[in-house]
Symmetry: C2
Subunit: 308 residues, 2 copies
């Protein structure tokens, strides 16, 4: 069997759509599964699929017959996903999906978790050393799903990896998140209320994140892998730069929101850089500039655009 | 609501039956759920219940209306449970059960995990410091279920605890496990083939384990709690003592089986002793003597007995 057929779940999401594009660009046969309408991505086979429906995972795998699986689907509504009972449903659905994939003879599986799996007291998060002690239901559920994916893959004798995403921004971001809300405010001529911004984070362009996931799928790296830029930045510096790029530095209001209690949340990226062989393709400044341009274009597209 | 109604799952199992007896002795209203025939335990309400059946958790909780939950049910067939796909089913079923319990207004939940959740390189396992890096599918699944139980309970604002059992022995043990197989061989006049036995373990009488779980249910301690004796012993010393107690020290053959690669697997018991307020009620020697007597009585009960 020489086919390389990858099934991507959550394929219309913020990260999923970029992973689909990156896998396509890398010449994979891409099967994309999502609940909603398919995207206009030529050459991709779309599957309408709600993985929370019992039996759906087996049906989807039997239809797509993937050799590789990139599992991104999860509940991700900002403000709600931290505490939603749907986190439990997604642990259950992820076990069903991985089982169906392994039963179907799948050869490589990558799931997608979060920096929320780490103990946030740790500051700099290293895959081998930082305790995985999640503080939230979302973090616990991602950790639980990752444990099961890795153990089920190991039991089946195939390589399983668990990507941990840090802070992402870029096209199609939910409008109420940090970068998106600041850029939208600035472009609309409104004040962007920010915290004092001394907290340090790892930010990565979502297009780069999609490409990193595609590289991880193609590798045989096993276990947890941080997917991050490896270039920590203070949130203050990030939003001030957005002010400049949008031409309205005067509208950035630092200290207008409560300070974030987690001073540092950054990622070791040696595994990603050296074992997967992937590094960001553009600088933070280049990516932020593209993001501001995308939101500008999206605004002019009118109320039917993505920023609506 | 002043009722204290505890639902025990896996109530006919090796540990479950002792937990039921201990809770009964502590004046709880006990609802016992299990797949098979109920035990002859006066005053306990039995529920025939297969928690792997979709919807069964909600039905059971609606019937028993427990204020407290002690969740012991899991797949436990010796030799098979380490690798069985049923571990995934039990993660899913445990999420369903905890959700149904919380939705029904439950006030205290205790789940039961294993020393297999710890990194076995660590030797001495401490709840606060030892990495939870399981080496097996069973260990991963128990860790995943524990993460979800604790996070779901915290989200619901009730105390959730996760007991980690170490090495148990005593009445009704599966006949093919360490203490049971050695005692059975000695009592039958057969050679008991053992490893060289330098590995150090924490062994606890299963009746004590049941009582410790009853104490944990009654407490409000949250998070992981080792349930163990806190008295490490070399396996060699344990089996030599069994030889003496059975009157056949000549039949214990050390070094007849491969050495165990894990040199030490012992438990910190400060949380159990100080926070739960529980310590073993008898010495290792007293418990082993009782266990040998139980197997003697069980043998004379003939082929219909528990040792069959």
């Amino acid at each position: 069997m020489t086919a390389r057929r990858v099934l991507v779940t959550g394929a219309t999401g913020f990260v999923g759509r970029q992973a689909v594009a990156a896998l396509k660009a890398r010449q994979w046969e891409v099967h994309a599964a999502a609940v909603g309408q398919p995207l206009a991505e030529p050459g991709v086979r779309w599957h309408a699929s709600d993985l929370l429906v019992p039996g759906e995972a087996a049906r989807l795998v039997a239809t797509a017959r993937p050799t590789h699986l990139l599992h991104l689907a999860w509940y991700a509504e900002p403000g709600r996903y931290w505490t939603s009972p749907l986190n439990g449903d997604w642990v259950q659905a992820s076990i069903d999906l991985v089982r169906a994939f392994l039963d179907g003879g799948g050869r490589r599986v990558v799931g997608v978790g979060s920096c929320a799996e780490y103990d946030w007291q740790s500051g700099h998060c290293d895959e081998a050393r930082t305790p995985l002690v999640p503080a939230t239901l979302y973090g616990a559920a991602k950790r639980a799903a990752g444990l099961m994916l890795e153990a089920m893959a190991a039991q089946a004798g195939i390589p399983g990896a668990w990507a941990r995403l840090f802070f992402l921004y870029g096209p199609h971001e939910h409008p109420n998140r940090l970068v998106s809300s600041v850029v939208r405010a600035l472009l609309a001529g409104r004040v962007a209320e920010c915290s004092e911004g001394s907290q340090v984070r790892d930010f990565l362009d979502v297009e780069d994140a999609g490409d990193a996931l595609a590289a991880l799928v193609a590798s045989e790296v096993t276990g947890g892998v941080n997917v991050a830029s490896g270039r920590p930045v203070a949130v203050r510096d990030l939003v001030l730069r957005l002010g400049e790029l949008a031409g309205r530095p005067d509208l950035v209001r630092l200290g207008a929101r409560p300070a974030d209690p987690v001073a540092q949340l950054t990622a070791a990226t040696e595994r990603l850089n050296l074992q997967v062989g992937w590094s960001p393709r553009s600088t933070l400044d280049e990516s932020l500039a593209r993001t501001v341009e995308w939101w500008k274009a999206s605004r002019t597209a009118g109320p039917g655009g993505d920023a609506a």
